[in-house]
């Protein structure tokens, strides 16, 4: 059966730490980093990489267009 795997890249410097992407992710992939960017915001990152399906919900709700999404099929 084909399985879908995804991955996101967060533009750390553009992120404002609003956490809307964390709330929007149906697979609990994202969390906020303990590190801050140059503006002083904690930025979002993939805390649970294996769970990402590449649905892009996080990127769609991000007000600042910080998230790029990739998706691929894996045979398993």
């Amino acid at each position: 059966m084909a399985k879908v795997r995804g991955a996101v890249v967060v533009n750390n410097e553009r992120c404002k730490g609003c956490e809307l992407c964390v709330a929007a992710c149906p697979s609990d992939v994202l969390a906020m980093s303990k590190h801050v960017n140059a503006k002083g915001y904690n930025y979002a990152y993939m805390a649970n990489e294996e769970a990402c399906t590449g649905c892009a919900n996080c990127a769609v709700v991000c007000p600042d267009g910080c998230i790029t999404v990739y998706r691929t099929k894996v045979n398993g």
């Binding site: 404002k16 956490e19 892009a56 990127a59 709700v61 267009g65 894996v74 045979n75 398993g76």
Partner: protein
């Protein structure tokens, strides 16, 4: 085959051929001044995506308001005009009449559209100008520090009604899109939001329809976006979305108000 799945790391997935979503190119890399989680950012992104998908980057004129979105011209790489407070529909009228080949839209807050600009809004819609109006209803004057707007909910606290809006003193929340739908010049009036991924995708379709109506000379389209102002509401962005669902949606129910096919 199981092994292949286990071996696949994010590095293997992050490849150009697997790209499914990125910030639209029309949205500039310059950081936007909006507060964290602000609905304005989401709607800017949707406007950019729709213009990109329609291939209209060189043929769009946006009319920016006075309000938090006053710097919209810095954020989207299209032609812009900056209107005096509330006058965006009048300026859009002029642009569209002079250049009917252009996609012309205004982008306005509730203070801009429903207070100081009420006359311009009503008359542009009544004349049926083929413009699209993007209306950000966050129930507050965001830019100036969270004062009461015509759209402020009954009982809602703002800087100028610290004990909550009293309808005896301040009148009722103005449902201006309900008024606009009665005007013969309007073609498409809808109320959307951007609080979830599904809502964002729906709002994008509404903006697309409004923009297509502008190009097909079908009269005025208004897309109201019930929006958050986390800073003005003194909530964090996730709470602001929840507060909006609970309090704003009953007063401003989502859905199409008018759609003349």
């Amino acid at each position: 085959m199981k092994n292949e799945e286990v071996r696949m790391t994010t590095k293997d997935i992050i490849k150009p051929e697997n790209l499914v979503y990125q910030k639209p190119e029309i949205m500039n890399d310059v950081p936007m001044h909006y507060c964290p989680g602000c609905s304005h950012g989401v709607v800017h992104k949707l406007v950019a995506e729709v213009i990109e998908e329609m291939g209209m980057q060189d043929k769009t004129v946006g009319i920016a308001p006075v309000g938090c979105a006053v710097f919209a011209y810095n954020y989207l790489d299209i032609d812009w005009e900056e209107a005096a407070h509330g006058r965006a529909p009048a300026l859009a009228t002029a642009v569209k009449r002079l250049r009917p080949d252009r996609l012309v839209f205004t982008y306005q807050g509730d203070g801009d559209l429903a207070a100081i600009g009420t006359a311009e809004t009503v008359h542009a819609c009544n004349r049926g100008e083929s413009i699209a109006i993007i209306f950000i209803n966050n129930g507050i004057y965001g830019m100036t520090g969270g004062q009461m707007a015509p759209t402020t909910l009954e009982g809602m606290k703002t800087a100028t009604c610290p004990y909550g809006r009293d309808v005896k003193l301040n009148g009722y929340p103005l449902k201006i899109t309900n008024i606009l739908k009665e005007l013969e010049g309007t073609r498409y009036i809808t109320r959307q939001s951007v609080h979830t991924a599904a809502a964002v995708r729906k709002a994008k379709k509404a903006i697309r329809k409004a923009f297509e109506n502008s190009m097909e000379d079908k009269g005025t389209s208004v897309v109201e976006i019930v929006s958050t102002c986390a800073s003005g509401w003194k909530l964090d962005p996730v709470q602001a979305n929840e507060w909006m669902e609970k309090n704003m949606f009953p007063a401003y129910p989502l859905g199409d108000l008018k759609n003349v096919e």
